[in-house]
Structures are given as structure tokens and as C-alpha cells.
Amino acid sequence: MSRLEVKALTHVYSQGTPFEKTAVQDLDLTVESGGTVALIGHTGSGKSTLISHLNALLKPTSGTVLLDGEDIFASKAAIRSARFRVGVVFQYPEYQLFEQTVFADIAYGPKNLKLDSTEVDRRVRQAAAAVGLEESLFDQSPLELSGGQKRRTAIAGVLAMEPEFLVLDEPTAGLDPAGREELLEELFRWQAQRGAAILLVTHDMSIANRCQRLLVMAEGRLIMDGTPRAVFAQSEKLLSVGLDLPGAAHIAQLLRQAGLALPPSLYTVEELADAILSLRGKEGAPC
């Protein structure tokens, strides 16, 4: 099992200037392969700065990142290794497609790994299949694809690196509900098959509540870390840092404020409906 550890990470932008800003402050975090983790926090909370350290795109001001106990910033070779083992897909990655064909774009990473062409070919096909891209698209220019297909091509390019840790920043932004669902299922399936870890940065609470673990950042710090159930039970704290509750949790909170005796950790529609209906029984209210 691989292990990615963030140790006392601090990142200060424009240090020593009037624009100095501490984006991440003294943050500790351990993620092990095999898990699904969601990271939420409003704009400016430090999420992007944090994930840019996970594959050594940003260097910490202090603290470090360890991959299986090794400092990823220790040497050029360590940085290179981290780039291969930790795949990061940034927001709207389709703007970064640049090759002539879909195949070449997905193959770019594996080719950089100096793999032989049979292996590159295998990886491209496997990655494309994982995100539901048809091989008939391989010879097309990425620019001719639909928005959803472009997004998938960009993600496949990172999957083809076969990372042990896959970090995605808002992978479903701008997709319709069905497209969102499809892509999520593809990603979770890929994660389960490979035994990799997935870290999803998201604003969408309905995505966050499908991960095993939920992290909440505010003002550069990790302020909550637990199961979605445990985190969503602290609705006041989430709202106070500018975040949304999942729809059902929000209604539950309003009902509690209105005096209904609902249990504290409801966040799916089914649970909330059951809890409301059982209340009806107890209070003998008319139907």
C-alpha cells in the first residue's frame, strides 16, 4: 500500500512583499492508496495550492510531502517520480489539450515515461476505455470533440500514467447531471479496479458525500476530516465557512430549527424522508 503524507505544510505566496498571502498553513494530511477522498472548501481556502504540492508543482515554504516515507522534493529524481505516481487533473483540463490527435494527447504522458510503443498503446486504450472514449475517436483532433469528450481525453491522459494517487479538481464542472454521474462512476470504477486513491476537489456536496472520507479546508487549514456523515452532521460549522450542505441536510437543518426532533446526521433524501415519516408516527400527527 502506498502512502502520501503532507507534513506541516505551509505555503506563502509573494513572501516579503505587500502582497504576501499564506495560502496553506501548517497542514498535516495522510492519504493511503485504495481510498476515495473528497476535499471541499470555498474559493481561496487553499485547496488548489495544497494539491499543487502533491506532485511537486509547487515547493513548500516550509514542511514537506512524503511519498512512502521519501521526501518528494529531495532530488530531481524524487520530483520526477512523484509526478508519475501522483496524477493531478486541474480544472477545465480540456483547455490543455495540444496534440494533433486524441491518441497522441493521451499517449503524451506514457511516452514521457519512456515506455515502449506496445505498452504506450496498451495504456492509451485502457485509459480511454476507462472514461468511455471510443477508439474510433483516436485519429480525430481533440478540438473536434464535444465538451464531455475533450474532458475525458484530458483525464485519460493522466490515467494513462497509471498513477497510484489521482487528484482531480472539479472534474465534473460544467457537465449536465447525467454526464456528471457517468464520469464519476467511471472514475470510481477505475479507482476500485486499480486499488489507487482518488482525491476529488469539489464544490458539489452530492459528489462529496459519495466518497469514503471528506476533508474540509478553510483559510489554509484543514478544519474537518471524517466520514461524510460525521462532517455533514456539523452543519453550522460548514455553513460558517461559506460551504453548502447537501440539499437533504440543508432541509433537515431548517426542520430542526423549526423545532422538529430529527437525528443529527441526515444527508440523503431517503434517510430524511424516513426520519420525517417516523416522526409522524410518534407524534400521532394526521397524514
Binding site: H42, T43, G44, S146, G147, G148, A173, G174, L175, D176, P177, A178, G179, H203, G242, L243, D244, P246, G247, A248, H250, I251, L254, L255, A258, G259, L260, V269, E270, L272, A273, I276, L277, L279, R280, E283, A285, P286, C287
Partner: protein, 277 residues
């Protein structure tokens, strides 16, 4: 009441496309109303939006804005003054280095006299809650703030209709709330006609009317209470229902009697409380 925008059986196809993006769409937009347009990616909703102020003109059928045909080039300027557009990416819509200069850009181009520009810019910024930021640099604002500046820029043209094409797609929850609240307020308090294209069902519940697009046609149309009680039909179109609607459906199936129109979280909670007695 006469519609402010009348869409008569329009069709449109992009060059080299396999099928038309719009295929026989008719719709009246009444003044002062809030219409939400939903649909999966590729359903034609953005293409429809671009027909509302003559960015695109129909291959067949016609679009009338206050009776002016969008296909007639002579009508272009009066139509653009009446119908303002806000797009998805706030960073692509801001042109100036100071918020108030950005908002003044359109009326300056229209040749509005300086005193009137000042009045319009201040008004527009107040209407979206950004007056205190009038001397700030736009690039240092949050996404929701930038989007509200973009809306103010459109308001400064004094339009009758505000068309927003997925204005919250790139925003965080706080930014989304800010923008949706500003838009709703412009409609309810200023009487501006709003057409909001969105993927977020919880934004659409605030509209008077919902239009659901599918493969270039209007698949469903009606009040939010009527649209969101058709969960299966919506899911078949690649859409979903807000949690409020799903909860009400479940509770009513179990014998409660909750108003299916109580679709904002606040209205839904109040209706449940009442139903429980």
C-alpha cells in the same frame, strides 16, 4: 400581455453538424418573468440563448424582440440594447482595470452622455451589491463578484431582458448563491425579464417557468412544480430533480400531503412542518 421576445418555430444548424442544434422551437417570453432553460449538454439551450439577441439568427422561423426581427441587420443595435447577455466565464467578459470603468464600457460605446453614464453605473453596481467595490481591480475579485460586475455591465445598458448562459458553472457555492440572489432580485424588484440557462436544478426552482430542451426541441415546459414532479421524464432527458422535489415525492407517496411547489429548501421545510401539524 405582449411577449418581449417571441420565438416562432426556429431552426438552426452549425456548419458540418449531423443534426440541427435547434429544430422547430417556439416560445414566448413575457415581460418581467423569470424563465429557466434546462437541458443536457448538446440539447440546444446555449444555441437558443444566442438567438435571443441576434448573436445567431435562425435558418428558418424568426425571433422578434419587441416586434423587431433579429434577422434584420438594421435592428441589431436596438435589439442588443434591449437584450443583454452574461456568459459562463467571468474572466472573458471583463475589459477594464477598474470595476466602474468596466461597467461604463457599454454605455460609453453607445454614446450615452457622461452624467447619465455615472448614474447608470452607480445604479447598476448597487443593484448587484457591488457598489462598494467600484474602485477595485476586477481581477482581484472572487468569481461570484466578477460575475456580478459582468451583470452590472449589462444592466448599465438599461436592458429589458437579461439572458444568462450558465453564469454559475464556474463558481463556488457562495458565488452561486450571490449571483442567483442578484438575478432573482433584479427580476422581482426591478421587473427585468430574466432567461437563465443552467445545469443546476436548485437554481431553476426559483423561476416562474421552466423550459426543458432535448435534441434541439422543447421537451417539457411549465411551472417548476409541474416540471419537477416528473422525475422519471427528467432523468430520461439526462437531468435530475432537486432534493426538495425528491423528498416531497417520497413523503407524498407515503401518504403526506405536501405542496409540490414548495421547492426552495425554506419553502419545503415550512410545508413539511405544516403537514406534520
Amino acid at each position: 400581455m405582449d411577449p418581449v421576445i417571441r420565438i416562432e418555430n426556429i431552426s438552426y444548424a452549425y456548419p458540418d453538424a449531423e443534426r440541427p442544434a435547434l429544430d422547430g422551437v417556439s416560445l414566448d417570453i413575457l415581460p418581467g418573468t423569470f424563465t429557466a432553460v434546462l437541458g443536457s449538454n448538446g440539447s440546444g439551450k446555449s444555441t437558443l440563448a444566442k438567438h435571443l439577441n441576434a448573436i445567431l439568427t435562425p435558418a428558418a422561423g424568426r425571433v422578434l424582440v419587441d416586434g423587431l426581427d433579429t434577422a434584420d441587420e438594421q435592428n441589431l443595435l436596438p435589439i442588443r440594447r434591449r437584450v443583454g447577455m452574461v456568459f459562463q466565464n467571468p474572466d472573458n467578459q471583463i475589459v477594464a482595470n477598474v470595476v466602474e470603468d468596466d461597467v461604463a464600457f457599454a454605455p460609453e460605446n453607445l454614446g450615452v452622455e457622461p452624467g447619465e453614464i455615472r448614474r447608470r453605473v452607480d445604479n447598476a453596481l448597487r443593484q448587484v451589491g457591488m457598489y462598494d467595490f467600484r474602485l477595485h481591480a476586477p481581477h482581484l475579485l472572487s468569481g461570484g463578484q466578477k460575475q456580478r460586475v459582468a451583470i452590472a455591465g449589462v444592466l448599465a445598458m438599461d436592458p429589458a431582458v437579461l439572458v444568462l448562459d450558465e453564469p454559475t458553472a464556474m463558481l463556488d457555492p457562495r458565488g452561486r448563491r450571490e449571483v442567483v440572489a442578484a438575478v432573482e432580485q433584479l427580476c422581482r424588484e426591478r421587473g427585468i425579464t430574466v432567461v437563465l440557462i443552467t445545469h443546476h436544478m436548485d437554481e431553476a426552482v426559483r423561476a416562474d417557468r421552466i423550459v426543458v430542451m432535448d435534441r434541439g426541441r422543447i421537451a417539457l415546459e411549465g411551472a417548476p412544480r409541474d416540471i419537477f414532479s416528473q422525475g422519471q421524464a427528467l432523468r430520461a432527458l439526462g437531468l435530475d430533480v432537486p432534493d426538495t422535489a425528491a423528498l416531497i415525492a417520497r413523503l407524498n407517496a407515503a401518504g403526506l400531503d405536501i405542496d409540490p411547489g414548495a421547492l426552495t429548501p425554506e419553502a419545503c421545510a415550512a410545508a413539511i412542518k405544516e403537514a406534520l401539524g
